[in-house]
Amino acid sequence: MSPLLECQGVSVQYGPVQAVKDFDLTLEPGETVALLGPSGSGKSSVMYAVAGFTRISAGRIILSGEDVSTPKASVPPEKRSVALVFQNYALWPHLSALENVAYPLRRAAKPKAQSLLEASHLLEKVGMTELSQRKPAELSGGEQQRVGLARALARAADIYLFDEPTAHLDSQIRESVANEIAKRRAELGAAAIYATHDSEEALAIADRVVILRSGSMVQTGTPADVYERPIDAWAARLTGPVATLNATVLEAKPGKLKVLLDEVTVIAHSASSTPTRSVELLIRPEWVRPGGEIRGTAVEVSYRGPHTDYVISTKSGHLVARAAGSPRLEVGQVGGWTIERAWAPS
């Protein structure tokens, strides 16, 4: 089966600003990809280019084997099999929730009665049956979000784009929406792209994560790839809390390093085996265990309920740690820690 979407070397230019540079992406049927990056990294531009709102300045976009965007020509948005959930919902204020959802069905030339019926089914799926006659202004942010989702679902599309949904859905709704999309994936081979700056959301929802920085793709991979083997310190910080420490290399093997940190030997995974004398180690908080030979003073202790976060000042720099249970140390106390794992990007 051919990929649903291919972006080949796509660039987007706004005047002097290059919002997207040489972007490649392949989306297979049934796949969910998260675009992860800070604001201004080009996530929305990629979305809008795929949707057909933004003309690309280089490269091409292929949907189901058909060229839809080139620098010279563009298939209009309504002719693409793409649905978009907007960042600020973009519900039409003069239409009720039901009419908003029925709108794409009407555009698909379905009779009015049938459109309204299908729309009310969709609203039921997102738990909005009671409020279907309300205008958007009379709905809360979360409720508007659900109507926006239902409207996107009403468009029988191959690809669902989620542009930074700002209101979080409660788990029950998320599940039913996920089920709905999964069903469509199975039936129609649909796929989804989810743009967000929230790494937890991206890691939880996606089959694959694409990290964007200033319009360029920095890294792509499974959630575990990008979390455990970030390409650099910037990508590591984007995907979660991390400590960066410098260590001396004792021994280098392919994919593995033996390093000296605070006079303690630590085994680190590494992307390359090029021998260097010193290396920057990335250490996630849950890779650090209480008790051990690395001594440090607690400078921040934050109780989070199920676990406690610590910032520890060591000779090599600040270390972050996460341990189950209530705080074991107070600020200013010295304790020992063990680094179970570390990652040395190339």
């Binding site: 973009a90 204020p93 555009r107 996107a152 009403a154 468009r155």
Partner: protein
């Protein structure tokens, strides 16, 4: 294409004007132009001072004191917008002039009504709604209520907080308002034509009118053009100033304005409300009543008592020829409103550099003195279109499309583009998306813009008095000619016909359509 139509409407006539004016500069008889210029500056300055003060006071009263019936008071303050300036002048004559209603009952007549004092009074009252609207918008965007409350919490008394916080915050806006109302003053034609000419008090605009339509001397054409060019120069400089000073009003995003507010309904607030109502009564309502009474009275000099009432002046006013003029005024107004709104939509649709240039041109053309624009349009199109309604329509659209543009662009800018995108995303083509989403959402603004342009065009006198010909006189021109011939009663009846029905029709639109806010693109 939008650019082309704007160029044809505004830029070409102006270029034509400047080129002819540079030739006329060497012509004879330019010495006598000093008086009208000085008079015009006087009227402009007087209008700016008076209208700014009145507008600010009115705004502070409706927005900053706990008055009851605030919505109605706001409407009352905007009432002069619905009365064409020359009808105001006529109604003041009938109310406070020699032989007016007050004179009849008490022997009092307003001294100096004929001349600069009367002109400034009437023009300034007409310009007060503009000053009021901008002040209200500025109060909301720059001098928020919280800042004053903070001053009060820091120990300032109400007047101290007004003096030390509110007024300094408003200062740039006040400058802008003064500049705009100055332009209104120097562009005024109807009022000086009715109140200045009989006292030999000529302004630039009345002089242009006399040179162009009352004088057969060949050199007067040149002097009219020189005056027109000078007027446009001053107006443009001032409007640019005003735009710079007021720019931030539009730039600040609209936010929810707390409708009610704290503050007690004090006796002072009640007194202020009564004072404002009294002023509205005195300046607008009573003169209109006087005008209507004169129109209803059988003969000049008779007491306006029911015994002397007759409808014959109205039946004469609704006679064939005037009915034609009424029809033409209405036709021109409908055409101008429709065309201006369409142009406004097109310009608002251009969200690019050209759109911004067009937006600026729109403002410029609104600031253009009607007299100047009429002369320019005459020069550019007079050869082929002289004496046609189309010529007047071109002038109207050139002048008024800015009103359409401004009222629409305010709303269009507040319309998130994603609403359009969402429609495209739902399978709607451009046209379907415009029809089902954009137009329904913009329709209140479109309606408001249409009504505003219609009002301005229907009441227009300055340009039509310079451009009309056989069979193309408008109702306003007919009134001007009748008044010049001394036909007090029929001209009064026509003025009532021109004004009252629209006031009655406009009030529901004002109430429902939030028209004034849209005029300023804010609030």
């Amino acid at each position: 294409m939008v650019a082309a139509s704007i160029a044809l409407l505004v830029l070409w006539p102006l270029l034509e004007l400047v080129s002819v004016a540079s030739e006329a500069l060497d012509g004879p008889g330019n010495g006598s132009l000093v008086d009208p210029m000085a008079n015009t500056a006087l009227v402009g300055a007087g209008t700016a001072v008076l209208a700014t003060i009145l507008g600010v006071i009115a705004a502070l009263i409706t927005e900053r004191s706990a008055v009851s019936g605030r919505q109605w008071l706001r409407l009352g303050i905007l009432l002069p917008m619905l009365v064409p300036p020359f009808v105001s002048a006529l109604s003041w004559l009938r109310a406070y002039g020699p032989g007016g209603l007050v004179d009849d009952f008490s022997g009092f007549e307003l001294p100096g009504l004929f001349g600069p004092v009367g002109i400034v009074l009437v023009v300034a009252i007409g310009a007060t709604p503009l000053a009021y609207l901008i002040t209200v918008a500025s109060l909301r965007t720059r001098a928020e209520r919280d800042l004053e409350l903070a001053a009060r919490a820091s120990g300032a008394r109400p007047l101290t907080s007004l003096r030390t916080i509110t007024i300094p915050l408003l200062a740039p806006a006040l400058l802008g308002i003064a500049a705009l109302t100055f332009v209104v003053g120097i562009n005024a034609f109807g009022v000086p034509a009715f109140l200045g000419t009989p006292a030999s008090f000529d302004t630039v605009t009345t002089r242009i009118y006399q040179d162009l339509t009352l004088s057969s001397r060949p050199e007067s054409f040149g002097s009219a053009i020189l005056l027109a060019t000078g007027l446009v120069g001053v107006a443009l400089v001032l409007v640019t100033l005003a735009e710079m000073a007021l720019g931030r009003i539009d730039a600040v995003p609209r936010r929810a304005v707390p409708s009610g507010h704290s503050g007690t309904r004090s006796a002072r607030a009640r007194l202020l409300t009564i004072l404002v109502w009294f002023a509205i009564l005195l300046t607008t309502v009573f003169p209109m009543i006087a005008l209507t009474l004169v129109a209803l009275t059988r003969g000049v000099g008779l007491a306006p008592a029911p015994a002397n009432w007759t409808l014959s002046n109205f039946s004469e006013a609704l006679d064939g020829r005037f009915l034609g003029a009424l029809g033409r005024s209405a036709l021109l107004a409908v055409m101008a409103a429709t065309t201006a709104v369409l142009l406004g939509v097109m310009v608002s649709a251009l969200r690019n550099k050209l759109g911004r240039v067009a937006g600026v041109t729109a403002l410029v053309s609104f600031a253009l003195p009607g007299s100047t624009l009429a002369v320019a349009v005459l020069l550019a199109y007079g050869a082929g279109l002289r004496d046609t309604l189309l010529l007047i329509l071109i002038a109207y659209v050139a002048k008024l499309w800015a009103v359409g543009h401004r009222s629409i662009s305010g709303s269009a800018d507040n319309l998130p583009p994603d609403l359009f995108h969402a429609a495209r995303m739902s399978g709607a083509g451009v046209r379907t998306a415009v029809r089902t989403i954009v137009l329904p959402l913009l329709s209140p603004a479109l309606l408001a813009g249409w009504v505003l342009v219609f009002l301005f065009a229907f009441h227009e006198l300055t340009m039509s008095s310079l451009l009309y010909g056989p069979g193309t006189d408008t109702l306003a021109v007919a009134i001007l000619n009748l008044q010049q011939l001394g036909d007090v009663q029929v001209s009064s009846a026509l003025a009532v016909i021109l004004t009252l029905p629209l006031i009655l029709m406009a009030i529901p639109v004002l109430v429902l359509g939030r028209l004034p806010g849209r005029l300023m693109g804010t609030g």
